[in-house]
């Protein structure tokens, strides 16, 4: 296993250990962000710097490994703001020329504004430090109008949307506020960060769907009705097979788009848009099918297919 592959495995382990199901349910019940202690586990492991190039003080993972990281994040329902920090805020502030040691160390948090406009290949990224809780990230993306607020310069021209994360995986729309101290990320770096960010959202949704497929297969082999495991009923088996088609094809497409980004291929934006359109919808379908295969159990709070489902739904909705 290569060194970077070990980092991916380590990340998956930390996710599983820190956010097991009872803890995730607890967070979800309070609709809360992770505790400082939970964030610290990730900070101590250097996870916030995974997407930051080595020469800027980060771990410098390649696109393929970052995609795998996002897949694991989805499988393990990594809370949204940690996800946003890894793939959005921290690499952006590093690329803007800021020293990221304290950010990666979790002492300050980062805000990020993404202005995509009608030219997805030329996104603009603005980033700044905030005084909110350590490790928190504000992500701004998509089209929505900005109001000028006191002490805040509205971004000229294009429109913006703000996504704040009060809790588990859900996006809410808040008032945008971009301070005049914000720094712009150079164009090439901005393009790469936004591409990886969009890919990571897809990979995260895929992870949600894959986790639910695996759980559904295990459940269908174990749960008995009419004197036989429900997996022996063709209607159930074919539902699982259809879920597999979505997950297997999604994995192929993630692999291809990752490599195109890695190669700096100019054709990637079209493929990325296709991936988003298809995979986010399909992953949501897989999650819905998983609930059906689990029957009444699937509709209980403890089962928490809800978390996965909400994750793919909100991701799908945010684009």
């Amino acid at each position: 296993m290569s060194e970077n592959q070990e980092v991916v495995e380590l990340f998956a382990d930390i996710c599983r250990d820190t956010f097991d199901m009872p803890r995730l349910l607890e967070l979800a019940e309070r609709d809360d962000v992770p505790t400082a202690g939970q964030v610290k586990v990730f900070v101590d492991a250097g996870v916030l710097g995974l997407a930051v190039p080595e020469d800027l003080g980060g771990v410098g993972l390649g696109v393929n490994e970052l995609t795998e990281i996002a897949m694991h994040a989805g499988e393990n329902l990594l809370p949204w703001h940690l996800f946003a920090a890894i793939f959005g805020g921290v690499p952006a502030i590093a690329a803007a020329g800021d020293d990221v040691d304290d950010v990666i160390g979790g002492d300050v948090s980062v805000a990020l504004a993404v202005r995509v406009g009608d030219r997805p290949s030329k996104p603009e990224l603005l980033t700044w430090r905030t005084s909110t809780e350590p490790g928190r990230v504000v992500v701004i993306d998509g089209p929505e109008t900005v109001d000028a607020a006191a002490g805040v310069e509205p971004l000229p021209g294009d429109t913006l949307r703000v996504g704040l994360e009060p809790g588990q995986g859900m996006l809410t729309i808040g008032a945008p506020a971009v301070p005049s101290t914000s720094a712009a990320v150079p164009e090439a770096a901005a393009r790469r960060i936004v591409r990886i960010w969009r890919l990571a959202l897809c990979a995260q949704a895929w992870g949600c769907a894959n986790a639910l497929l695996e759980r559904s297969v295990a459940y269908a082999k174990e749960r008995e009705q009419f004197g036989a495991p429900i997996a022996t009923f063709q209607a159930v088996a074919h539902t699982l097979a259809d879920m597999h088609v979505g997950v297997a094809a999604g994995l192929s497409a993630l692999g291809r788009v990752s490599r195109l980004i890695d190669d700096g291929d100019a054709a990637v934006d079209r493929e990325l848009a296709s991936l988003e359109s298809w995979l986010l919808t399909r992953s949501r379908r897989v999650c819905e099918q998983a609930v059906q295969v689990h029957g009444g159990t699937g509709f209980t709070w403890e089962q928490d297919s809800r978390g996965n489902w909400a994750c793919t739904c909100s991701t799908a909705a945010s684009w």
Partner: protein, 381 residues
């Protein structure tokens, strides 16, 4: 089962891009023109086109040099598919032979069989068909009743095949027969290469839903086939036949995917201005992009020899989804209240229904995924 690790994808290297450039020049200079509406004439033109491509060195590029190939990767074949897709004759007439039967003979055949059977595939001088299905053996191939009895150096065949595509103009048939055991068992099946000109073979065209005779019924009355034409060992036919199913998918699905892109491009020209069409066309384009990515993965895994058994059922199911979605949408977006005539769009709509039936139905593909990939238990009998 899918794991959380990215899979390989097809890469095109400089040598592939060189093939692409040469192909483009060749196609520009030798544009085959629109094929004739007359069916026999069209078949003749398609044979000439493949022969011309073969003479220029573009057919069988991934075959070993000892078989008349160039020992390139499947990426070179993918380049051929993609570039042919831009011509008026996008499909190779002998593609069943090239994509399915040839890899089977390369895996199971003797050196004599390779040198006898492979060259005619390349220049389309010898077309192949696949004789698996029978009236009582469709999804359940174990039900095969066509029998072959050993007589000296020959096998003597009696029985019937059905829905055999291209049988009418084929020189050879990859024929699955029962040499032992009773219908219902996978054991006792044997694959033979049958010369369709052998006395006792009768081909009767069977009209499809589209009133085209693309497939046929084939009858065998005391047909003698030399033992030297058995591919693999007698009794191994099931394994030999199933290996063709795996080969069939990669390039075949890539080719179909390219055809669907062309249809979508035509559709965009026809109705792209309409706002109600935008989202639909976008969704279809996205779907085709994912299909392409998936075929690239299958071809890459095939090249690396790491394709998992049963995994190409995903390719078949995805292709079916795309095919029926594209053709269905083309029909809906062009629909007129008094539409009763058969044009290209209605033709495609009907043709799309066959995709979920041939080469293993949708239900059978899902059974395969359930048992071979997800490891689901079977129903107790």
């Amino acid at each position: 089962m899918v794991t959380t690790v990215l899979r390989p994808t097809l890469r095109f290297d400089d040598a592939d891009e060189d093939v692409r450039a040469r192909l483009r020049r060749f196609i520009d200079d030798h544009d085959p023109g629109r094929p004739s509406a007359d069916f026999p004439e069209r078949v003749a033109q398609l044979r000439q086109w493949q022969a011309a491509l073969c003479a220029a060195g573009f057919i069988g590029m991934s075959w070993p040099e000892s078989d008349g190939g160039q020992g390139r990767g499947l990426s070179a074949e993918a380049v051929l598919c993609e570039e042919l897709g831009r011509t008026t004759m996008p499909e190779l007439i002998n593609r069943i032979a090239l994509y399915t039967v040839a890899p089977m003979i390369q895996q199971w055949g003797t050196p004599e069989q390779r040198s006898r059977l492979l060259p005619g595939m390349l220049d389309a001088s010898e077309i192949w068909c696949q004789g698996f299905s029978e009236p009582s053996a469709g999804s359940d191939l174990a039900g095969i009743r066509t029998r072959a009895r050993r007589d000296g150096d020959d096998w003597v065949i009696n029985g019937q095949k059905v829905w055999t595509s291209r049988a009418l103009w084929s020189k050879w048939c990859a024929l699955l027969v029962r040499t032992d055991g009773e219908p219902g068992s996978h054991k006792g099946l044997t694959l033979v290469a049958l010369d369709m000109g052998t006395p006792g073979v009768t081909v009767r065209p069977l009209y499809q839903m589209l009133h085209e005779a693309h497939f046929s019924e084939v009858f065998f009355d005391d047909v003698r086939v030399p033992h030297a034409n058995v591919i693999g060992e007698p009794g191994q036919g099931w394994r030999v036949a199933m290996s063709t199913m795996g080969f069939e998918r990669g390039l075949f699905v890539l080719e179909r995917q390219i055809g669907l892109r062309r249809r979508l491009a035509v559709l965009a020209e026809q109705v792209g201005e309409r706002p109600d069409a935008h989202v639909k066309l976008g969704e279809l384009a996205a779907m085709l992009e994912v299909l392409r990515a998936h075929t690239y993965r299958t071809l890459a895994e095939q090249d690396l020899g790491i394709l998992e058994p049963g995994s190409t059922s995903v390719d078949k199911l995805l292709l079916t989804e795309c095919y029926q979605a594209v053709c269905g949408e083309a029909f809906d977006l062009n629909s007129q209240p008094d539409r009763l005539f058969m044009d290209e769009i209605a033709h495609d709509l009907i043709e799309a229904r066959s995709v979920s039936i041939y080469s293993g139905s949708t239900e059978i593909q899902r059974n395969v995924i359930g048992s071979q990939i997800l490891g689901l238990p079977r129903r107790a009998k």
